[in-house]
């Protein structure tokens, strides 16, 4: 539901880290499956808010990444959770190996992984 806010921060990050790119064609992000945002709406927010920036017209490519949970005994569980209901979440929050509570280590982050675009043309010499 807050995809617009997240899309705005993705655009800001992309513009900040675009280096010498004059035009951005693709922005790749990995989004943990526990983030409360839908990839389709993120892409829509990105398309809408990027207009007029160097990322205007660029495509947002979202890769959903799994959750990693670790219990006190060090057992790790990795799983892709599509529906964030209690039962699916308990599959990682209660260690499948020993039943002890596990902490979420990964799965709640949004990471900018790649920017694809065109380099700035070489500066023309002064006349």
């Amino acid at each position: 539901m807050h995809e617009l806010a997240l899309a705005a921060t993705i655009i800001e990050s992309a513009l900040e880290h675009a280096g010498s790119l004059a035009r951005i064609d693709e922005v790749h992000v990995s989004v943990g499956c526990l983030v409360m945002a839908s990839p389709e709406q993120l892409a829509f927010g990105f398309e809408t808010l990027s207009v007029g920036t160097a990322a205007g017209g660029a495509r947002l490519i979202v890769e959903t990444t799994p959750v990693l949970a670790r219990c006190a005994s060090g057992h790790e569980t990795r799983a892709m959770i599509a529906q964030l209901g209690m039962e699916s979440l308990m599959g990682v929050l209660e260690c499948p190996q020993c039943g002890e509570p596990a902490d979420i280590v990964e799965g709640r982050e949004i990471v900018l992984t790649r920017i694809v675009g065109e380099e700035r043309p070489p500066a023309a010499g002064r006349t």
């Binding site: 539901m1 807050h2 617009l4 806010a5 997240l6 921060t9 993705i10 800001e12 990050s13 880290h17 675009a18 280096g19 010498s20 790119l21 064609d25 992000v29 526990l34 983030v35 409360m36 945002a37 964030l84 209901g85 209690m86 039962e87 979440l89 308990m90 929050l93 209660e94 509570p101 979420i104 709640r108 982050e109 949004i110 990471v111 900018l112 992984t113 790649r114 920017i115 694809v116 675009g117 065109e118 380099e119």
Partner: protein
């Protein structure tokens, strides 16, 4: 075509502002609590009851988040404590940046405990660290006793869950103990209290939780002062 590979945390700025806010609050010896919950669950009445019950001994202030109206801020203002209303516009949650500004508006007030009432929503606020020290979720039986199971993420980082309106649980066919059990299963560290903020049932226990929070903060400060002296 040119490709730049990165590994940039997109939410870093929000996290940085949240940490900065926490340091600022620590410097002023203010303990802050993010109060989350669905629309109508009882977030505002919790603040009203706190002013009534512990307002004499604890210097309270509030930030009231609402999408467009000023109604919640108005209700809190009538209790007499300093309050800043934050309209999020189209946004469904408060974020660290909004809180940073709201706190600046409260700079002149002496505050022990800052109560940040989030926008009524059990989904989005889960993703945002506001720079507060503790998180409280208020759920009410009228939302159905499967409300916790439907929104597990918001309970993951919460410190206290108040199951409100238990006095009408029978009338709405909800089992408050199921709600409490679900919250504890999702987050074994969470404290759960059954209450009716309107009738007063269970309210003393809730107030004690907040008083203990302020006392532990004061204890830490005294310890630091003693170490410093």
């Amino acid at each position: 075509m040119h490709i730049i590979d990165h590994r940039v945390d997109v939410t870093a700025l929000g996290k940085e502002i949240a940490s900065r806010t926490r340091r600022l609050l620590d410097g002023r010896n203010v303990v802050a609590v993010n109060i989350m919950g669905a629309i109508g669950s009882g977030k505002t009445i919790l603040i009203e009851k706190m002013v009534e019950r512990i307002g004499e001994t604890v210097a309270l202030a509030a930030v009231a988040g609402d999408v467009v109206s000023d109604l919640d801020a108005g209700r809190i203002r009538r209790t007499g404590i300093p309050v800043v209303g934050v309209n999020t516009g189209r946004e469904c949650h408060l974020d660290a940046h909004m809180i940073e500004h709201a706190i600046a508006d409260l700079a002149a007030s002496r505050i022990d405990l800052l109560l940040v009432e989030n926008v009524g929503n059990l989904v989005c606020p889960a993703d945002f660290d506001l720079g507060t020290h503790k998180r409280v979720v208020v759920v009410s039986v009228s939302e159905g006793d499967d409300i916790v199971a439907k929104h597990p993420m918001i309970f993951l980082d919460a410190d206290l869950c108040i199951v409100n309106k238990v006095d009408i649980a029978h009338a709405v066919g909800a089992d408050p103990r199921k709600m409490a059990d679900d919250a504890r299963r999702i987050n074994p560290r969470i404290e759960v209290m059954l209450a009716s903020l309107r009738t007063g049932q269970g309210v003393s226990e809730v107030m004690s939780w907040f008083e203990r929070l302020v006392a532990s903060r004061r204890g830490q400060c005294t310890e630091q002062e003693m170490q410093g002296s």
